[in-house]
Symmetry: none
Subunit: 130 residues, 4 copies
DNA sequence: GTGGTCTAGACCACG
DNA sequence: GTGGTCTAGACCACT
């Protein structure tokens, strides 16, 4: 299987209460974190996503635009939308603190919803394999 | 420790994009599913929740109202709000959805901060060992 | 005249070819740079701007949203939109370079359009006084 | 130095939000207004501009076409593109608009970078003295 | 009454 | 064909 044939696909959860554009943003960011999206990869076109998910193109564009403002993607007018080069990380002490905080909050949220940390780790690993 | 002294506490995640009232509803349902809330348990008052979380009482009221409509809680005027007797089916599909959503959200936030999912998993495992 | 009575007003130039939402963004940023907008100042409401300029509220919201993503303004749901606290500047060498570059580009653009730098300085001073 | 050897060069500002074809049109008009372009002067070819600015020839063609429609330039098939004979009224309103727009844009960019308009003015004056 | 999300659909800009 | 801007209008969330 060639890498180029891999297609990034969005999925919506209409029951989640999370706004559609936000789900799209989260999935791109999660794709980058899990390694399924890398710098230079092309995202599906605005219209393609709109058709696939049966949503309005404007909603897709809004998500892509916000990702562009944040520097996560580059859009090239008339060409397509691509994952941007990762900007260099900040100082490492600050980063270690951020990771610690994220993990702590994650564990707390899991507990609140009645899941064990182990269950969540497994779910994360599953996402990484996809 | 008496059961009645157990305090159910809500937590909000402003970064999640999930509407506040929806987070409240989810946490009550999750508490029931996980066993930390059982029939007859009292929920904190609308005012108490509003003060604790620094949100508008109307928002809390709306969440409680929707839970009452669903038959999840009983509101006894002048007394308080309690988990209803009615058996709640442990909606496993709903719980799977919440787990999925939580994992996606944190993978996305890891990506936003420039971490990989693998780094997050390692941090969580490290915390689990402590 | 009390400071609080000062009202920030947008103006559109329909002949400029610059997208409306972009004109709004630029005017907020210019207002901050010129000192006519400061941290905590409230911007006119989305609907008010839409009515004043006879444009669609969505266009205004788009401008405000982009400013919020960039950290220039804070929006408080149900309350209004406010100029955010200035985030601390970066290291001074980098900043001096940026200012130098901006001034150089400014002078070049002025020349291309057939204006003298002096004319532009006067226009900038005029904007600062408003 | 012969007059014909003078080269008219376009400059693009990708940060301005102004459409490319519009920037080209403005610069020709400004060149005429400021006297750096006069009747009979030849403009660079469509291909040359496209290569220099790394833009699509169609974009250049569209700008030239619009200028021709306005009577600002004459396109002589197989020969080149020239500033038209017809007297161009020095449209002072249009030039005032451009000056205003330029000042607003740079004030906005100063604000984005965390500078005040006053700082920008001082830098410009400093450059002017050199 | 404040901002927020989404749809439908038109028209523009760029390659 | 790609992305971009704007309008009109509905319905939701929060104070």
């Amino acid at each position: 299987m060639s890498r180029a044939s891999r297609v990034f696909a969005f999925r919506l959860d209409p029951a989640s209460g999370v706004p559609v554009y936000r789900q799209l943003i989260d999935q791109v960011q999660a794709g980058i974190a899990s390694g399924s999206l890398a710098s230079g990869d092309q995202l599906p076109t605005v219209r393609q996503v709109a058709v696939d998910l049966a949503i309005n193109p404007n909603t897709v564009m809004r998500a892509y635009r916000e990702l562009e403002i944040r520097g996560v993607i580059d859009t090239e007018h008339g060409t397509g939308t691509f994952i941007a080069d990762r900007k260099q990380p900040r100082d490492s002490a600050e980063r270690a603190r951020q990771l610690e905080q994220l993990a702590t909050e994650f564990a707390a949220r899991a507990g609140t919803l009645g899941f064990t940390v182990q269950q969540l780790i497994e779910k994360l690993q599953e996402k990484g394999r996809k």
